[in-house]
Symmetry: C4
């Protein structure tokens, strides 16, 4: 085995372990029920991203039974890599959407999808979440946008995610009538965004049902977002 | 013991274990309190179903004390089979309703009843849950219907369930002023439906209290339902 | 030690164990935070109840630190019995209210008080919970009533509980601006009532915020209540 | 080491252990998600408080990874004490606000900040929580006030907390569009206040969304507050 191949193997093993482990965070924060929801993580092979791979959850398998060895390795067209661990199972039914995001957003290293209840509630009304709390300004830099109605069967979900999030500060999109998809520099970052979008969706829902909200001035939102993205946490490695 | 009798014994043991274990899912998802709620599973004896048995929870026993050996074996009239493990206890007070469903819907292999809060809230208004999120289209193929007001004492609850669900895509019915009953190909499938009906009841409740909902076109609901019932998951065995 | 004294000792030990253990149910069902809430259980000494004792939680002690040995034994005036385990600590600040109930309702064997959120919400409006779900009819036989505004310092809380619940089907009262008190044949029964009153408070709150409720006919409420009180469960011993 | 220095070391060790342990209470009561929220505790060095130290959580570190040794020791300007355990990491991004409180309120021994959802919802409307339940009268002696809008970057958050809480009965302030800060005689007391402010925020939210609230007479609020602050619990040491 060449040293390069060995490095790839090591990277795959790390992402398999991260993705398996991070599914437990979806359970911990109550974002999923039964076998719903999925996390994926990119395996970087080339600087351009065009030869990369990603690791994703198998379809319809319960959260008690997820382990590195049954995560599924795919190429950026969403095809399972034959002969790898887990390749005898079908990948998540949302694999095509994840693949589309990885193909079209080389900076993205992780994607998460859930049906978390408050986020889906905003999505069922096709309504963006206004940025009225400082935690949202920190994390998302403004409102959390809505993406188009799209159903499984072609590239339309992936396209809707990319069109909405490209160039947007938010790492989360609420796909109409469906639910949130989040992206991040890696799988952990996308999971954090999935946790924070539900928290924001819940808090702003509760706030608004009891009376009018006080807006945060745009200049304050900008300052909070800049600080949080650059200063918060311990270092670039552990920032999120 | 003939080989056929031995097969039946084995099937009973499997259903006892499944039914005991699946009650823990009702607790995990917060669908029950104290001793409320019940799961049953059919033991297939004949192809026509007329000689079948089913296994159900004992009445008024706490969720910490459920084990295969104290589940109760009944015939399709709801009568406890004497001399079998657990037969010294009374079966769930909803046994007659479960029995009625098994007698009249041979395709049903599992029945679940809970008082999960959001589903009961829709039931207290006698209002069906509209299908405005794709997860409901996947799972239930449309709205979740309401069944008639009926109280314990005769066949009226069982009859209301069967009349509402026969020929309906939904595996869940909200019995008016009472709560959800769900059916499935086996007990696990009916438990999944009980989890998903509460999730749908909660999400649509939250969505609607904050403003008007966007309907999903019927054609999209149909496509989602067809795909999910045929493609989702690993195989026919693990599909749900 | 006479045999009678020995029986009393045994009864005290049993109630201490029950009361300590049952506090964990308040935590499990989310009815209490920090050191709030309390359970007590009567120790039957005389048939008339006038010489009875009861066991109650110490004041301001966390739920992780409750054990049979630090529960506190009191007489029916609420005075701590000197020299008994736990008697070096102050009993729950609600001890006077519990004592008043035991003095004036000889049939009561357990009392529970919590600040569970939905029940307190109804109490803050001084509004009884209407009986629109069959589980309430089973358990409480009708609406859950509101008691008067009363504050700690004299017998007014105990008096309000007794005036409201004496002769009432409901084992729960919502003391105005304060919260629920429940009674039962023993401590476990009163804890069950505390769990069910919060569940009813939550479900009816959710139901009503989305539209008009369908009433249950009085005759059906009566039948449900009669059946549940007499038939449900395994026997008189395990009925609740 | 002088005896005085040894006493300080002992006090630091105790506060490190308390602060690390108390973060778990924020998780237990659902007040925080991911790495959000923080607890600090003062180390008393001088009677005047001007030479005191405090211990606080590191920035952006998960709740599963908090231990006494990675808590961070700071002076009252918020500067990390070099060469002490954890001093290689950045302290919580809210450290300046905690420091400001300790500098300006010598009686305060603990500070807590969370983004608990219901409290943040009131903060997003800039609305104080009215005192309509006896538990609030006990704990906070009246309404829970709102503080000014202020963002990280200078002393404005700390100043807003101190201006609002100095001379106020409430140990909790809802900083507008941001969230609750609580203070206490020590870290445990401030954590208790953080738990109780969310409980009050949730209960009063639920109560008010269903109809008009009954006010509690001021005289009753005063009596409840006086009693609870002086009588409740076991002694001055364990009072909270």
């Amino acid at each position: 085995m060449t040293s390069f191949a060995s490095e790839i193997e090591q990277a795959i093993a790390t992402v398999r372990a991260d993705v398996a482990r991070l599914h437990a965070e979806l359970v911990r924060y109550g974002l999923v029920v039964w076998t719903g929801g999925n996390v994926s993580g990119r395996v970087r092979v080339s600087a351009e991203g065009d030869r990369d791979l990603f690791v994703i959850k198998p379809s319809g398998v319960g959260y008690d039974h997820l382990a590195p060895a049954n995560m599924i390795l795919c190429d950026l067209d969403g095809a399972v890599i034959p002969g790898t661990p887990g390749s005898d199972r079908a990948p998540s039914s949302d694999t095509a959407a994840h693949a589309y995001v990885y193909r079209n957003m080389p900076e993205v290293g992780g994607v998460v999808h859930t049906h978390s209840d408050y986020a889906v509630a905003w999505a069922a009304r096709g309504e963006e979440i206004p940025c009225v709390i400082t935690a949202m300004a920190d994390e998302f830099g403004g409102p959390i946008p809505v993406g188009p109605f799209a159903i499984i069967g072609d590239d339309s979900i992936g396209r809707g995610i990319v069109q909405t999030l490209r160039g947007h500060r938010s790492r989360a999109v609420l796909m109409q009538n469906h639910g949130p998809f989040t992206i991040g520099v890696d799988a952990a970052d996308a999971v954090k965004a999935a946790v924070m979008v539900e928290d924001a969706a819940r808090t702003v829902h509760l706030a608004r049902e009891a009376g009018p909200l006080i807006p945060i001035p745009q200049e304050a939102i900008d300052r909070l977002y800049q600080r949080y993205q650059n200063v918060y946490g311990q270092s670039a490695d552990t920032r999120r």
